[in-house]
């Protein structure tokens, strides 16, 4: 059986019972042929129940492992089941599903091994003022800093290194399923690692919405750790051969 056309949409979710039905609905509207896997990262609410009710597959962590580990569980599932194209999006409804076809198309046409949805590129047909995303100043500053560092290292413009809205092919899937993938806040460092492993990266304009309900993973003292981790991770990545 030829599985090359099979697409899996991975949704890592932690306590997203409110957002997830809408996300699944959106995916079905814009990627009807794709299969959906919700990775329930040890949620204490009904994330698993509402996802099963919506008729999708759910893989549940026995306890909370974090965003990166949830993604990686999804990657490992896709690898075992032989999916050739993977798309990941957040379970909180932040990512506009109407851009799923744009991201998938880049990978399926083999224009890149991984397509990263950028909220800072101008989406076609939306025009100026189309961005619904307005991050707090510190967050924007962090994105700009690591975007610039990543762009300088890989010599390609990266505007949104923290984006979790991505599509990838089977070659990248093998890499991200391995223990090389940093499960602890994977973003700019992954882009650098992927580039150093010879993968072709392309940013695709997408729209993201602000999420008012959710407490950001970048809150409290976490931004300080995030900045430290990202610098260290990028530094050791550059030291590795």
């Amino acid at each position: 059986m030829n599985k090359s056309g099979r697409i899996l949409l991975i949704i890592p979710a932690y306590n997203e019972e409110k957002g997830i039905p809408g996300v699944i609905q959106g995916i079905r509207r814009y990627a009807s042929g794709a299969e959906i896997l919700v990775v329930d990262d040890g949620s204490t609410d009904q994330t698993r129940g509402v996802s099963l009710e919506a008729g999708v597959r759910v893989v549940s962590h026995p306890f909370n492992l974090g965003y990166g580990s949830a993604l990686q569980t999804g990657y490992q599932y896709a690898l075992i089941k032989g999916y050739e194209t993977i798309l990941q999006m957040d379970g909180d409804g932040q990512h506009d599903p109407s851009f799923i076809p744009d991201l998938l198309a880049v990978v399926q046409r083999d224009e890149a091994d991984i397509a990263i949805g950028s909220r800072f590129l101008e989406p076609k047909g939306i025009g100026s003022g189309g961005h619904s995303y307005r991050a707090p100043f510190m967050r924007r500053a962090g994105m700009k800093l690591f975007g610039t560092i990543t762009s300088l290292i890989i010599r390609q413009k990266i505007t949104d290194p923290t984006s979790g809205y991505q599509a990838m092919n089977g070659k990248v899937l093998e890499w991200v399923s391995s223990d090389q993938f940093p499960c602890d806040y994977p973003d700019a460092d992954v882009i650098i690692m992927l580039h150093r492993s010879g993968f072709r990266i392309r940013e695709v304009p997408v729209r993201m919405f602000e999420n008012r309900d959710k407490k950001s993973m970048h809150s409290g003292l976490k931004p300080v750790y995030y900045i430290f981790k990202m610098f260290l991770s990028i530094f050791v990545t550059l030291m590795r051969r």
Partner: protein, 152 residues
């Protein structure tokens, strides 16, 4: 009265204090020796007992065993401690002991951080494998329900 006291008190200036301590520490006081010996032997016995009861793995016991052995060695061979004190440029043997105790604690904490990192990775891998197997198992059960539950 006050003048007399300060004459007898060797701590009235730092140099005479150091000389006083050095003189006192030329040999290890017998009470110190007994306490150190009891502590060293007690520590070794405790570690061996923990290993015997399988509460401490052999691989993590060696650093502690070494500490107990070093305490015993330095107690019985005080000249070695004095020689190390001289070698590292410390003034009194007690600072040498504090320095090495501090270094030991730092290294053992680092060692534990490495162990915890390894355990965290393995814990994550186990949880991921468990989750994937559970999904597979549930789908298998749905496809092939246990015999006797399907009547039609």
């Amino acid at each position: 009265m006050i003048a007399n006291d300060s004459d007898n008190d060797p701590s009235h200036d730092s140099l005479s204090f150091v000389l006083f301590v050095l003189k006192k520490e030329e040999i290890m006081p017998i009470r110190n020796k007994i306490v150190a010996l009891a502590f060293g032997i007690g520590m070794l016995l405790l570690i061996i007992e923990l290993v015997r009861r399988r509460k401490l793995r052999e691989e993590y016991s060696w650093l502690w065993m070494m500490t107990g052995a070093v305490i015993l060695l330095l107690t019985l061979w005080f000249d070695l401690l004095k020689w190390i004190t001289h070698l590292i440029g410390a003034v009194v043997p007690s600072s040498t002991i504090f320095l090495f105790a501090f270094l030991f604690l730092i290294f053992i904490s680092l060692h534990f951080s490495v162990v915890i990192s390894k355990l965290t990775d393995r814990n994550k891998e186990l949880a991921q494998k468990h989750a994937l197997l559970e999904l597979e198992f549930n789908e298998f059960k749905k496809r092939y329900p246990p015999q006797g539950t399907v009547l039609s």
